[in-house]
Amino acid sequence: MKTFGGPVLFLDRSDINTDEIIPAKYLTEITKQDLKPYILEDLKLPGFDPKGEKTKAARVIVSRANFGCGSSREHAPWVFEVNGITAVIAESFARIFRQNMFNCGMAAIELPKEQLDLLFSHAGNADAAISIDIEAQTLTASGGGKQKVFTFDISPFDKALVLAGGWVDYADSKY
C-alpha cells in the first residue's frame, strides 16, 4: 500500500506553470537535491512565501486547474520531491507534468471543482492536512477538528506506476 500525506500548501490559482515552480536558470543543476532551495521561487500569490514555514512543512499541494502547464521539465516534480512534497491535488493537470509525477512514483490527483472548494475551505486552518491512500483511491482531509474523506479516480496505468515506484524499471522488465 502506497500512502502520501501531511501538511498542505494551498496555492489558490489556475495555470501555475513550470517556470513558476522551478525557473529555467536552475535547470543547469545536475542533481535533484541541488534544486531544493528554488522551489516555487517565481510564484507570486498573495500571502505566499516560497521560503516560508508553510512551504517547508508541506507534504501535499492543493491547487486549481491546469497545474504544471508549460515546460516538460521533470525538475518540477523533482523540486517538490526533494522538498518532501510527493502529491499534488488539482482540478486538472497539464499532460506532461501529470505524467512526470506518476513516472517518478508520485501522485497527481484530480478532483472536481466543488470538492476542491471544500478542500480550500480548510486553507485557514493551521493544522490542515491530507492523507492519500492510492490503493483505496481515497484521500482524507483534516483540520480545525474536522475530517472528511473523498474518493478519486486514477488511471490503472498511473496507479501501477505509483505502486511500482516509477516507469523505468517497469518498462525495462516488460519491453
Binding site: A24, R73, A160
Partner: protein
C-alpha cells in the same frame, strides 16, 4: 469509420496496451538536448543500464546554452557529448554544427509523415507539421525512450481546426496560433492533438506549419499535426529521393497518413482567418492576446528574434524586409539568433545579416538562450521584451521581465519604433 492521422499513427506503432486507455508506442525518433538528457543518462548509469535501444533512431544536440557559459552548463554539455560518443550516436550536433533542436532536426530531414517522435522538451509538438505524432515528455519518459524505444500515452482525441479564408498582409502563422490559443485558452487542448486544416494551412510553407504546431503546447496540446502534402514532399525531397522514383510516388506514400474524410473528431472549430489582424500577447499567459492596435505604443527595451517558433529563414526574411534601411529606435536593444548554422549562413548569403547589423542588431550564434532566460539576452527586473518566442510566463526571459509574444514582422516594426507597432504600415 475513418481514422485521424493520430489514430493511424497510434495503430501502426502500438507495442502494448497494458491497461485500458494506455498505449505503449514504438518511437521512431528520440531527440535529446543537454538540459533534460544528462539526468536521464546519470540515472541509467546509476541503474547499470547505460544502453541505447538503437543509436540510429536517436538524435542529440547541445542547444539550450551554447557555447557553454559556465562550469555547470559545460558539465551538462560534456555529459551529453561523452554519452553520444560512447554510444556512437551519429547524429550528434556539437558547437559549430548545433542549432535550436526544433529547427535543426527538421532541416536535417529526420522527421517524416507517420513518425512517432519524443523529446524531453515541450515544444516537440513542432514536428507534427510533417504529419507526425510528436510529443514533449519528461526526463523519465525520455530515459525509457533511450533505453527501450517506447513511450506510453493516453491516446489523445483530436481537435480539428479548419483555418478558412486567406492570411491578410502582415498576418502570419504566429498570429494565427496566438489567436487560436487566445480563443481556446492555455488548457483548451490538454490531452488533445491539434490538427490544423484548411486553405490557410494548405498554402503555408513547412516553416509556417512548424510555427503553427510549435505552440500547440501553449494550449496544452499533445502534438500539433498538419496533413502531409506536396509541400511536405518538396521539403523532404533531398532526403527521400533514393526511396521514391518520383515526387508523386512519395506523395502517394505520405498521403496514407492523412486523416480520412470520415474520421471522427473530439471537436471541429472553424476559424475565418481573413478577418485576423496581427496580434500580440499581454500579461503572463500565452492566451492573453490582443490585436496589435490595442497594444500599440507600449514601450519596450529589447527585441528578440529567434527560437524554435520563429528563428527560421522565412522569419528572418520577413523581419529584414521591414528593417531594411532602418535603425533600431534609440535605447532599444535588438538581438537576432538564427536558429541553425544553415539559416545563419543562408541569411548571410542573402544579405539579411547585413540588414540586421546595419539596423543595430546583435547577431548571436544559434541557441535557445534568451527564450527561457538562460543566456544571450536575459531581461533585467522591470524590462520589457518584444519577442518572437513562445512563452510569456512571469520570469521566463529573466526575473521581473515582461515578454510580449508576436510575429517576426511585428517585432521588426516594434524595433524601429521602440514601442509595440503595427507591421502593416511597413509592408
Amino acid at each position: 469509420m475513418g481514422k485521424t492521422t493520430a489514430e493511424k499513427i497510434f495503430a501502426s506503432h502500438l507495442v502494448d496496451e497494458p491497461f485500458a486507455g494506455t498505449k505503449v508506442l514504438r518511437i521512431d525518433v528520440v531527440m535529446c538536448h543537454e538540459i533534460t538528457t544528462p539526468i536521464a543518462i546519470a540515472d541509467l548509469m546509476e541503474r547499470g543500464k547505460d544502453r541505447v535501444f538503437d543509436g540510429s533512431h536517436i538524435k542529440a544536440v547541445i542547444d539550450h546554452v551554447t557555447p557553454s557559459k559556465d562550469s555547470k552548463t559545460a558539465t551538462q554539455a560534456k555529459i551529453l557529448r561523452d554519452w553520444a560518443h560512447r554510444h556512437a550516436i551519429k547524429d550528434f550536433f556539437d558547437v559549430g554544427a548545433n542549432g535550436v533542436c526544433h529547427a535543426l532536426f527538421p532541416e536535417k530531414g529526420f522527421i517524416h509523415p507517420g513518425y512517432t517522435v519524443i523529446m524531453g522538451d515541450s515544444h516537440t509538438c513542432t514536428h507534427g507539421a510533417f504529419g507526425a505524432f510528436s510529443a514533449g515528455v519528461g526526463t523519465t519518459d525520455l530515459e525509457v525512450g533511450i533505453l527501450k524505444g517506447v513511450c506510453a500515452f493516453r491516446e489523445p482525441k483530436t481537435i480539428r481546426f479548419n483555418l478558412n479564408g486567406t492570411l491578410q498582409k502582415g498576418v502570419y502563422a504566429k498570429d494565427v496560433i496566438l489567436h487560436i490559443i487566445g480563443q481556446i485558452g492555455v488548457n483548451g487542448a490538454t490531452d488533445r492533438v491539434m490538427e490544423f486544416r484548411g486553405p490557410v494551412v494548405d498554402a503555408m510553407t513547412m516553416e509556417s506549419r512548424m510555427t503553427l504546431c510549435n505552440m500547440a503546447i501553449e494550449a496544452g496540446g499533445t502534438s500539433g499535426i498538419c496533413m502531409p502534402d506536396m509541400t511536405t514532399v518538396d521539403f523532404l525531397w533531398e532526403f527521400i529521393r533514393d526511396e521514391y522514383a518520383t515526387k508523386e510516388a512519395a506523395l502517394a506514400a505520405f498521403s496514407r497518413w492523412r486523416s480520412d474524410d470520415d474520421a471522427e473528431y473530439d471537436k471541429v472549430i472553424d476559424i475565418d482567418i481573413s478577418a485576423l489582424a496581427p496580434v500580440v500577447t499581454f500579461g503572463y499567459k500565452p492566451d492573453q492576446v490582443k490585436t496589435v492596435g490595442e497594444l500599440a505604443g507600449t514601450p519596450i527595451d529589447q527585441v528578440y528574434l529567434g527560437s524554435c517558433t520563429n528563428g527560421r529563414l522565412e522569419d528572418l526574411r520577413i523581419a529584414a524586409r521591414i528593417l531594411s534601411g532602418k535603425k533600431l529606435a534609440p535605447g532599444v536593444r535588438g538581438i537576432l539568433s538564427p536558429a541553425t548554422p544553415k539559416i545563419y549562413k543562408d541569411a548571410m548569403n542573402e544579405g539579411l545579416i547585413d540588414i540586421f547589423m546595419d539596423a543595430g542588431f546583435c547577431v548571436t550564434n544559434p541557441t535557445c538562450g534568451a527564450c527561457l532566460g538562460m543566456s544571450n539576452g536575459v531581461l533585467a527586473d522591470g524590462e520589457t521584451c518584444a519577442s518572437t518566442t513562445n512563452r510569456n510566463f512571469m520570469g521566463r526571459m529573466g526575473k521581473g521581465g515582461m515578454v510580449h509574444l508576436m510575429s517576426p514582422a511585428t517585432s521588426a516594426a516594434t524595433a524601429i519604433e521602440g514601442k509595440i507597432a503595427d507591421p502593416r504600415k511597413y509592408l
